[in-house]
């Protein structure tokens, strides 16, 4: 696996990386942001700010449109009712005017002449139609003359209500009633004064059919029904859905009003209907138009469906965008934060190393001077034995002196290593003796290899070109990799360190172990800061991430291969000549 990206690997998936957090880890302690809350707050604010106006506007538009559609319906219904009312009223007036004309045209005596009356009825039938009969009744209620299908001459109407009505009020229009022939008809009667005192009544029957003719021509939307009822709710005309003539309608009779009115009401079966009505003046008739609300609102429902569909679509689109953008941004913050913490850590780590180096150097210096004296004194003792005869040649004493000298040598090796380490923590480049460096780093591991009987094989190409790089960084890289290898192998394992030229201007350092290895998942995260499988054993998860950036700083690269149970192989490729890039992070200056 080769990691080219400088940043840690990102995992793809629905759950963003920041969501999980790293509870209790060092990283989370340094995070100043609660990213999950940030995400929630951002999503909430953005959702409210962008969705609320949209929803409100849609709701307002919805109501406004609905209102305007409804008022349009009311207006249209009201207009039709008014027009129809006028037509009905007019046709009644027309017939009454006709009767009036007859009265003006004929004196009372002429009207009591039945032949004359018959002629008039014929004329009326020819011109207006709908007239059934015609009768003249005197002031006592007796029918003086009658022309029509029945034999009603001499009939006494004095005790009938309509007669009293017409006598008192001058005019009467009756409800529709079946009459003798079972043909629905209505009666119009008018009182006329006889010059010189007294009055008579002209009475005529009209077939109710002429109402139907008037109304049947109307074209009504919304399964509309138009009909006329009287104040008892008895149908005066046939209706499409509310029964035939003289049936009682299944609706409440609307209250009196002298103007046209439209209202909405539910029917008995629960459907909403729009009812327009008008009382026809001076008659018992009420004109009613009933429309099905559901049918009327159908076009509106279509609009509404589109409106709501558009709203739903917009909401989902906005939500998707908000979620995606917020998740993306918060994730970016998460990674930036992680990088920041890692950098901080690296600076701390470097400072620690520098301090350690200085401390080591100080200790080494303090120890070196007395050590030098011990060295010279012991050397002198040995010389005294070797160069003079003053002291007996005592092999035991000589052995002791040799032991002292050997110990001094071992101590001085340690102090020398400490001093070297301190000297090399800056950014100077120098020619590096790779073999010596590897030996020195292995020296840091002390006797661990021996104790755990780990076989360490160092294989360095004899014909390596000269490497010029930063010794301190190289040491750290090797130290980290070798440290890792020691941690990975079991007792009795094997670690192989090999260094070979990889091409004309770079070398490859390979550290291979036959330890526990890593899974596919661990491999993808191995260079990620704070990723560790050794948390319980004090791992910080920074070793390899620092190694990674050290390799980068030296202008090289690092890659890793591993199989669980078989082992791991790290390979660092370094350029032979390290050109320090300007502007790169200078760890050496960080602590100074």
């Amino acid at each position: 696996m080769k990691t080219d990206a400088e940043e840690p690997r990102r995992t793809l998936g629905l759950r963003p990386a920041f969501w999980g957090g790293r509870e209790g880890s060092e990283a989370s302690q340094k995070h100043s942001l609660n990213l999950r809350r940030l995400w929630k707050t951002t999503v909430l604010i953005m959702t409210v700010v962008s969705l609320a106006p949209l929803v409100v506007m849609t709701a307002v538009d919805y109501r406004v449109t609905q209102k305007s559609v409804e008022s349009e319906l009311v207006l249209r219904t009201s207009r039709i009712v008014s027009n129809t009312k006028r037509a009905v009223e007019f046709s009644l007036l027309e017939r009454m005017a006709a009767l009036d004309f007859i009265v003006q045209d004929n004196r009372f005596q002429m009207l009591t002449d039945c032949a004359r009356l018959e002629a008039i009825l014929d004329h009326l039938r020819l011109t207006f139609g709908g007239f059934v009969d015609l009768g003249v009744i005197d002031s006592t209620g007796r029918q003086l003359c009658y022309v029509g299908p029945y034999d009603l001459s001499g009939f006494d109407y004095s005790d009938q209500e309509w007669f009293r009505n017409v006598r008192d009020q001058g005019m009467h229009i009756s409800d529709v009633f079946p009459g003798f022939r079972r043909v629905p008809h209505l009666v119009i009667a008018a009182r006329h004064e006889i010059p010189g005192g007294g009055f008579y009544v002209l009475r005529t029957s009209l077939e109710a059919e002429f109402f139907n003719t008037l109304l049947s021509d109307l074209e009504l939307s919304g399964n509309g029904d138009v009909f006329i009822v009287n104040s008892e709710g008895t149908l005066q005309t046939s209706s499409r859905m509310h029964g035939g003539v003289l049936d009682t309608i299944d609706l409440r009779v609307p209250e009196y009003s002298d103007s046209t009115r439209v209202f909405e009401t539910p029917t008995r079966d629960g459907r909403a209907v729009l009812i327009g009505y008008a009382y026809i003046p001076e008659t018992p008739f009420i004109l009613m138009i009933v429309k099905q609300k559901a049918v009327l609102m159908e076009p509106w429902r279509d609009t509404r469906r589109k409106l709501i569909g558009f709203l739903a679509l917009s909401l989902s689109a906005i939500m998707v965008v908000i979620l995606a953008v917020t998740t993306y941004l918060v994730n970016e913050i998460h990674w930036a934060d992680l990088r920041r913490v890692a950098t901080l850590h690296q600076v701390e780590y470097t400072n620690k190393m520098i301090s350690l180096g200085r401390l080591g150097a100080g200790v080494a210096h303090e120890i070196n001077n007395p050590l030098a004296i011990i060295n010279e004194k012991a050397g002198l003792i040995k010389d005294l034995f070797s160069y003079t005869d003053r002291y007996a040649d005592d092999p035991k004493l000589l052995g002791i002196v040799d032991t002292i000298l050997k110990s001094v040598k071992r101590c001085s090796e340690v102090t020398r290593r400490l001093l070297n380490f301190a000297r090399d923590t800056d950014s100077e480049t120098s020619p590096v003796d790779l073999a010596a460096t590897v030996t020195e780093v292995l020296g840091f591991m002390g006797k661990e290899a021996e104790y755990r009987s780990i076989e360490v094989v160092v294989d360095i190409d004899k014909n390596l070109p000269k490497l010029e790089t930063n010794c301190g960084r190289l040491q750290q890289i090797l130290l980290n990799l070798i440290n890792n290898a020691f941690a990975a192998v079991d007792d009795g394992g094997r670690i192989e360190i090999s260094i070979r030229p990889s091409n004309a201007d770079s070398i490859t350092i390979q550290v291979e172990d036959n330890g526990c290895g890593m899974s596919e998942h661990e491999l993808t995260r191995v260079f990620e800061p704070f990723y560790t499988t050794k948390r319980s054993r004090g791992g910080t998860g920074l070793g390899l991430s620092i190694t990674y950036s050290l390799a980068q700083e030296l202008g090289g690269s690092i890659d890793v291969e591993s199989k669980p149970g078989e082992g791991t192989r790290f390979r660092v490729t370094l350029p032979l000549a390290w050109q320090r890039k300007k502007g790169t992070f200078d760890e050496g200056s960080a602590g100074r």
Binding site: A361, A364, H365, N368, N369, L371, A372, I373, I374, N375, E376, K377, G379, L380, D383, S386, Y387, T388, V408, K409, C411, S412, R416, L419, N420, A422, R423, D426
Partner: protein
């Protein structure tokens, strides 16, 4: 070969001088810069072995003053401190630079190299 040893640790220089004399090298020693200047004025030395860190006059300064007096003399620096500054100064100023504690054989070899390149 005549050698001048300068180090503020008397125990070190005396032992070193004696050990060198066993090996046929004539070594004078002093524990301060002033004493060393006096010795150098009185005698001629092939090589001076100077400790870098000494009270009053440091090894580096001492070398500068000795150079004026004895331009032909060669120098070897000693230090117990492996600091970067010491290393730079030492490698720049002297032909050789050795870290204490010394291996006497290495010291002799180095002196030979310096005197007869």
């Amino acid at each position: 070969m005549k050698v001048l040893l300068v180090d503020d640790e008397e125990e070190l220089v005396t032992a070193l001088a004696e050990r060198l004399s066993f090996r046929g090298i004539d070594a004078d020693w002093s524990t301060s810069g002033n004493e060393a200047l006096k010795l150098a004025r009185a005698h001629t030395y092939d090589v001076a072995v100077l400790d870098i860190k000494m009270p009053n006059i440091s090894g580096i300064d001492l070398k500068k003053r000795l150079e004026k007096m004895r331009p032909d003399m060669k120098y070897i620096f000693l230090t117990g401190h492996g600091s970067e500054e010491d290393f730079r100064a030492g490698s720049a100023e002297a032909s050789q630079y050795l870290v204490k504690p010394l291996d006497i054989e290495v010291l002799i070899e180095t002196m030979r190299e310096v005197v007869e390149p």
